[in-house]
Amino acid sequence: MKKFVNDPQRFVPEMLEGIALANPDTLKYVPEYNLIMRADAPRDDKVSIVQGSGSGHEPAHVMVVGKGMLDAACPGDVFAAPPMDYVYETTKRLATPKGVLLIVNNYTGDRMAFDMGREMAESEGIKVAVLKVDDDVAVKDSTYTVGRRGVAGNFFVMKAVGAAAEQGADLEEVVRIGEKVNSVTRTMGVALTACTPPSKGSPLFELGDDEIEFGVGIHGEPGRERRKLERADRIVDDLLDAIVPDLPYRSGDRVALMVNGLGGTPISELYILFRRAYQVLAEKGITVGRSYVNEYCTSLDMAGASITLVRLDDEIEALLDAPAEVAIRVF
């Protein structure tokens, strides 16, 4: 395993300590619950926005805690939903008269932890809502399964509800906005290499030198199919062929386009993907109103990328445009 790591079991806490040390004025760290929170939270005049999820997706979610985004994140270990305790203790600490919004990427473990944490917090009189994100079109939705996964599109949900909460929206309103953004957001990803969880010490799966995993999950779960590596443009075309018809996005639509790196892919390559996606959308009469090219939701050191589309309207666009100050925006 070629990683900067000391004790694999201390991977997450050491990372969180680093984040806290780098942001002494703006962030607070509660080691017992892997909790990174705004130093000025909770604020009585706003809904607190909380994300859980597993670690290994950085900058999501611990590095986007800050003004206009999350008030707190309490991640579990690498790729593991947080224990219910983390959720409960975090919710208690973030409680405000306006309430707490728990954003949950749609995975079994996360949903259980957040549902149980919510129940416990509610039993103590805290106002709590849970918002589910499930933007991954790689997963065929069906009544037999647990529905789609939440992946990089969760960024837009966090950004929008973070802005709304900052502007004083109440819990119901924040939930409405989050659900609306989630409903117009679609993502699909592709992996060029597997990721290596520190505690495993070896790649999570094997990919041949000329193979890619099409529709991969952000925990390295296999996707729709294993394919031969192709030209960048072709990969983009195929991703968009899955994403565009799903909502569907139509000629005349104005969208946010995100090309998200999965951790091991340099930003130069992300712009090569972006270029093609922009061109293909233009051909379809879809206007890219906002562009996002960077790492937002990763899978450790996996080489790969995902593409996300969000259908914009005036309300969503204004919320995405609102200022935010977070740890990764160090500059």
Binding site: G54, V78, T145, G217, H219
Partner: protein, 229 residues
Amino acid sequence: MTDTSTSQQTVDLVVRTIAETAIENETYFGELDSVVGDGDFGYSLARGFEKLLEGWDGIDRADPGTFLKRSGMIITSRIGGTSGPIWGTAFMRAGMAAGSAADLTGEQVVAMLRAAVEGIKARGQSDLGDKTLLDSLVPFTDVLEQRLQAGDPPKAALEAAAAECRRAANATAEMVARRGRAAYTGERSKGSVDAGATALAVLAERLAAVWPAGAGSLAADGPEGKGSE
């Protein structure tokens, strides 16, 4: 059914064996979860059971039921991933089913396992055939019940149940996952066994192996703790 009543001492042995076996098999369980899952299953269980063992002596042992409920709460609240809530719920429900009995009969043990199964189903919104640990836990419980009812000594009953548990775990390879992370891969989840179901087979086999050979009342001449701490 023979007299197979189970004391707190035996419950201690069972839970400690589960914990130690999960910790020893961290890597193997993680690899099982790597095939169509995300590889964290072994790590989650190991860290969680380590925490259980850390506070081991302080866990309330008023009666086996209380002990199991407290253990379940620790597991639920301290283990992440899907496994924390699922396994914690199983322990808690088993504890509730035990009530405040000081010694447990074979019938009670079977009822506790049934309660655990129902707890997992409720917590996981899952059922038999979804390719989860339920698919080896239920057959394990069925055979255990049959054998105890047929009058087998507990160790023999456990051995038979563990063998069935392994067979059922292997059979999950034929299934398409409908719950858990493996479910996202649909048809591609076929061909590999479920991590949770297989882990349970390993635990069952270990329990059968450490169970003392003597028949009769376990409550009276129960096995000693392994004292490996």
